[in-house]
């Protein structure tokens, strides 16, 4: 049986046909849509390297069957920057050395974008660490990651207050 779905990825509409339903969103992105920014670490929900936003919420793309996503709106690391202007979370990771080898970084950044949007952590480092615990970093760049998320959360809240004022 073959399956056809249509979804939006980083603002572009994509129509995809699968020969069988076993394809995960992670494999669809990397192997069929030429978007290798999303990384495969464990492939079992345990490391967070594959984190993307689906309809604005962070999830593990390795445990999501692509065929379930007809009509969904997916954002990957490739979809964050506006041209050459980095997303505030990306800029903050660069500024605070939020990585070493960089393998976990796309997942860390997507997770941080999702976490800040969830709005529960504010600028409490303990809550940020807890909220980011689904993203492992083999290089243990955790200190820089926490600083980066903290700073981005502060900047994004300031921007929001300024805009609404």
């Amino acid at each position: 049986m073959s399956y056809t779905i249509s979804l939006t990825v980083n603002g572009d509409r994509r129509d995809v046909t699968f020969e069988d339903a076993r394809v995960t969103l992670l494999d669809l992105l990397r192997e069929r849509l030429a978007l290798p920014g999303t990384k495969k670490g464990c492939d079992r929900g345990q490391c967070g390297a594959c984190t993307v936003l689906v309809d604005g919420r962070r999830i593990n793309s390795c445990l999501t069957l692509a065929v379930t996503l007809d009509g969904a709106d997916v954002t990957t690391i490739e979809g964050l920057a506006r041209g050459d202007v980095l997303h505030p979370v990306q800029a903050s990771f660069v500024e605070h050395d939020g990585f070493q080898c960089g393998y976990c970084t796309p997942g860390q950044i997507m997770s941080a974008v999702g976490l800040i949007a969830e709005g529960d952590v504010g600028t409490d480092p303990e809550r940020i660490r807890e909220g980011m615990s689904g993203n492992l970093c083999r290089c243990a760049a955790y200190h820089g990651i926490t600083e980066a998320v903290l700073d981005a959360a502060r900047r994004m809240t300031d921007d929001k207050t300024r805009k609404s004022a």
Binding site: A21, I59, N60, L63, T68, E118, E130, N135
Partner: protein, 347 residues
């Protein structure tokens, strides 16, 4: 992963009609897809229920109870302010489980139905009576440090891994289902099963039966000011419980008028002992009383392998959760949910 047919029925009755032996319902997929990858589960048909209409609501019932649809995401339930105010230990248990990403995908029904984390179950090349009755138990005599100390037998020594299910058991939740034979209610105490002679049957659900919702009574919310869920794990976050406990008290004039205690990580279902709860009634809350209650709750515990450490740990976490419940529910979700570290972790 094996080949399977995928379908997305439009209604609950269509989903049930589509079910056949070897089919599996798909919620958030965080457990099912994982186990399909290891090969432990090989459904020939995957029935996607994630978009079924009407099952994603949290409702207040006319009798003062609360009804949570089976498709409500774990993160949505934990983050609902009214729900978390009424059932803080359920919200804390949810927030302490898995990761932010997984909680956004995981559904209430899927959480109740998640399979054991026994590695022999997950590995299709190991013997396992849960995967196939009569196959033998690969865990017996093997790596058993996270296996059961209560309610087990030689057929299966696995534990139920869910955090959510521990407070649901303590609060006498009711599971609403619909299956080929119609609708029914299942008391939470009867929902998960001990292995007995049928280790392959983990829950009371009949083949093809679908969870529609979980109900909580108004009395379950009455302990909102004095309830706590605590969980011990190998790291402070993003880890399954070694042992955990949900404790809820009602207090009047300095005495306990109702006590509920359920222990997780120790058996194939959350463990409740009526005698342990009864001995607290009419007593003033007190550390020594809580220790005695915890001792009674663990009275029948025996290691199923290399897991004797769990018995003492479970006693301590049970007593501690009762003491923290008596001290009062934190006004805000602790930064480290269900943790024995950080703020809100000490009496």
């Amino acid at each position: 992963m094996n080949l399977f047919d995928y379908l997305r029925p439009a209604s609950v009755s269509d989903a049930i009609a589509a079910w056949q032996p070897g089919a599996a319902y798909l919620g958030g997929g965080t457990n099912l897809v994982d186990l399909m990858k290891t090969g432990a589960l090989q459904p020939g048909k995957v029935i996607d229920i994630a978009r079924l209409p009407g099952l994603d609501r949290i409702e207040s019932l006319p009798d003062g109870g609360t009804r949570i649809g089976a498709l409500v995401k774990n993160s949505v339930l934990a983050g609902d302010p009214d729900f978390a105010a009424a059932f803080p230990m359920i919200a804390e248990a949810l927030a302490s489980g898995a990761s932010g990403q997984l909680r956004n995908a995981a559904t209430l029904g899927g959480n109740l139905m998640q399979r054991t984390r026994c590695v022999y179950f997950q590995d299709p090349h190991s013997a396992c009576n849960r995967r196939e009755s009569g196959n033998g138990c690969g865990a017996l005599g093997g790596d058993t440090q996270n296996h059961a100390v209560l309610g087990w037998n030689d057929a299966c020594i696995a534990t139920n891994p869910s955090d959510l299910c521990v407070p649901l058991a303590a609060l006498d939740a009711v599971v609403e289902t619909q299956g080929p034979n119609g609708r029914r209610d299942i008391a939470f105490a009867d929902f998960h099963r001990l292995p007995g002679d049928t280790p392959e049957r983990e829950t009371a659900l009949e083949p093809g039966e679908l969870i529609l919702a979980v109900r909580l009574s108004s009395n379950a919310a009455a302990s909102y000011q004095n309830s706590r869920y605590l969980k011990l794990r190998e790291r402070t976050s993003f880890a399954f419980a070694l042992v955990s406990a949900a404790a809820a008290l009602q207090l009047k004039d300095g005495r306990i008028t109702e006590a509920r205690l359920a222990i997780g990580g120790v058996a194939a279902k959350p463990w409740r002992v009526p005698a342990a709860e009864a001995l607290m009634l009419g007593q003033p809350p007190d550390t020594d009383l809580f220790r005695r209650a915890a001792a009674v709750a663990l009275e029948d515990a025996t290691p199923s392998g290399n897991n004797g450490y769990k018995i003492d740990l479970a006693r301590r976490i049970a007593a501690r959760s009762l003491a923290l419940a008596a001290a009062g529910t934190p006004t805000r979700m602790p930064a480290l949910p269900a943790s024995v570290f950080g703020e809100s972790a000490h009496v």
